[in-house]
């Protein structure tokens, strides 16, 4: 990134890049919050890709709305009119997905793919008709494919900001029932929530996000704003309410930062920039998230290996067997359990005796509790004190006799 560009991005991030750009960045941020939070309900309902069909189904609506407005004598570029048209055809697409997967043997994924491609194809036909209407300029309908915020009109920016704020309000107002339905639809139904209505509101929210996002993110990539934040949030938490909040934050951040970068580099289509910002946050979460991240998993695996080597090393010491494995020797040495020449230290002998006792107690315990869950807890690492009570251990010790001494 060049010096001037990064300067311009910082300027846009601080809302210094002009009134319109600031409004668009705020609108994109609000849209991102609504998309992230709304998308996480969809994600939890395992219907993430339905939104892709909804998004692609907006195109014929945009084209038809433009043609109707031209026929009525206006120049056809009014954003509210185009958005209304897109909402209508998106509703038709959503209804068809539902109808095909309910009424025929085709699975939902086939219905999604069919609606998506056919509506989009029909939309392209309409766009080529509009191109040949002799009006030369196409009212920038191509901008709806990939999003473009360059040269956006003031009232359009207001519509996006207000629409984003409204969508966030709906998420806030409906978060309880939507969370319940998303988490466990049957339980929600049993506790008196009308699941179908909540599902409808959820889809309406997705549709609103799609329609508002048409101008900013574009219809091909808006699905990313609904899915990526939710999937990202999944790496950070196992709790539904936190998932929704984190997804909202990720989406808002991606929308805001992406719109700011795009304001500084107007040649770039806005949608891909926002999506790549979201993907960068996702990538960072995939690698560095505390529990599910790749790094955390690798560390966990390493710790586990070291524990296994330590335990097996101690047992070998206790039995007086030579240790040949390099990693085991390193582990024992670093813990101060053996001296550099491989002879056990005082501490090492004590711990070896403890490990051996633990092993013998386990052996006995697995005989006594053969048919109980406790026998399954044996993994060669868990100390028996964590599983059995002192009384039970005393009983085991009575059977096997006390700890055996480990000689150096």
């Amino acid at each position: 990134m060049s010096e001037t560009l990064s300067g311009a991005v910082v300027e846009a991030l601080l809302l210094q890049a002009g009134y319109n750009a600031a409004l668009v960045a705020i609108g994109a941020g609000l849209l991102g919050i609504a998309a992230g939070a709304g998308g996480s309900f969809l994600f939890l309902r395992k219907r993430a890709l339905v939104s892709d069909a909804v998004a692609h189904a907006t195109l014929p609506g945009v084209g038809l709305a433009f043609m109707v407005m031209v026929a009525l004598g206006s120049d056809g570029r009014s954003l509210p009119g185009l958005l209304l048209g897109s909402a209508l055809s998106a509703t038709a697409g959503l209804y068809l997905v539902d109808w095909i997967s309910r009424r025929t043997r085709l699975a939902e994924d086939a219905a999604i793919g069919a609606v998506l491609s056919v509506f989009f194809g029909f939309g392209v036909v309409l766009l080529t008709i509009i191109q040949t209407l002799g009006r030369g300029r196409q009212a920038g309908l191509e901008d709806f494919l990939l999003g473009s915020t360059a040269g956006m009109l003031f009232q359009d920016a207001v519509i996006i900001a207000v629409g984003g704020a409204l969508a966030v309000t709906v998420v806030l107002a409906m978060r309880r029932p939507m969370m319940l339905v998303a988490f466990d639809a049957e339980y929600a139904a049993a506790s008196g929530i009308h699941v179908r209505t909540v599902d409808l509101i959820m889809m309406a929210l997705v549709m609103a996000v799609t329609v508002i996002g048409l101008k900013v993110v574009g219809l091909i990539l808006i699905v990313a704003m609904l899915i990526i934040p939710a999937v990202t949030a999944r790496f950070w938490t196992d709790r539904t309410e936190r998932l929704v909040i984190i997804a909202g934050i990720v989406g808002g951040l991606a929308g805001y930062v992406g719109a700011a970068i795009s304001a500084a580099a107007p040649a770039l289509p806005t949608g891909p920039v926002i999506v790549l910002v979201a993907f960068a946050i996702f990538g960072a979460s995939l690698l560095f998230a505390p529990n599910r991240g790749v790094l955390a998993a690798a560390l966990r695996h390493r710790r586990f290996r070291l524990r296994v080597h330590e335990r097996q090393g101690l047992l070998a010491l206790a039995r007086g067997e030579p240790i040949l494995d390099g990693l085991t020797l390193r582990v024992l040495r670093s813990q101060g359990l053996i001296r550099p020449d491989g002879v056990a230290t005082e501490d090492g002998r004590a711990q070896a005796a403890k490990a051996q006792l633990d092993e013998r107690r386990w052996q006995e315990a697995r005989q006594i509790y053969r048919n109980e869950a406790i026998a399954g807890r044996y993994d060669g690492l868990t100390a028996i004190e964590q599983v059995l009570t002192p009384d039970e251990i005393t009983e085991i010790d009575r059977r096997i006799g006390g700890p055996a001494r480990v000689e150096a």
Binding site: D52, R105, G113, L116, G121, I227
Partner: protein, 309 residues
Amino acid sequence: MGNEFVQFSLTPLLIGILAAVACALPGNFLILRRQALIGDAISHVVLPGIVVAFLLTGTVASLSMLLGAAGAAIVAVVLIEAVKRLGRIEPGAAMGVVFTAMFAGGVLLLEQTDTSTVHLDVEHALMGNLESLVWFQAQGWQSLTDPAALAAVPPELPRIASVCLAMAVLMVVFWRPLKLSTFDEGFASAMGIPTAVLSFGLVVAAAVAAVASFDAVGSIIVIAMFICPPAAARLMTDRLETQIWWSVAFAVASAVCGYVLAGYGPLWFGGQHAVSAAGMIATVSGVILGLACLFGPRRQGAGMVRAEG
């Protein structure tokens, strides 16, 4: 007709038909395996692959494009698996994350690259340009036997023809294992069929069909042809063999009707210009699917099938 038809319509029509069939054949299995959206994902990730291939070689030669796109498809499959396993994310969402991000990357790369000298832009990638694949050297039907004129057919035609043939041959060769593993994966692997390899092979075959058709007709047709003709065929019959024939028939019908409607339809309504053939072919395939949904003899399926839905 005659001369003008051969010159301007024969090759695009043939390319459209072959592309439709090449996608519909693997599409039959994708539909039955509930992997219909793989076609959607592939047609998106092909874009970055093609752009990277162009950046590396500086040409739009077909082989490098094909390799780039196939590479991108493999990267996508690996990434989707990684997201699915590492995050324990459901496959649909994992796919959504990967293909949108790769498509976004492809668009940005394309916008940053100077492609003014070659025919490579986002709109072309989405919508294709079937109408431009004309055969200028043709003088009429007799050109079909004239080697000099035949040497000048658009290179897309032999390419998509060989891919279409390859799809048919692969399907015949692997018919039994493919059918078994599609309907009962557990039984197939008990019979010693390497189902994982077969499944990956199917995705790669779909990717090759997508890339070859994508080059000629754009990604809308690719997605529509992967799904609509096989889905409509599925509503006509319970037998896989019959379903394949139906899907081929629907694919050909979509391509022919779509092309003719796009080229001549506007003239019937007093228009001056043709509309997008790729878009019209997708639309016609949707109409066929709609009719099959309403009237197809097997639209409801057996009780077992309903229970899954």
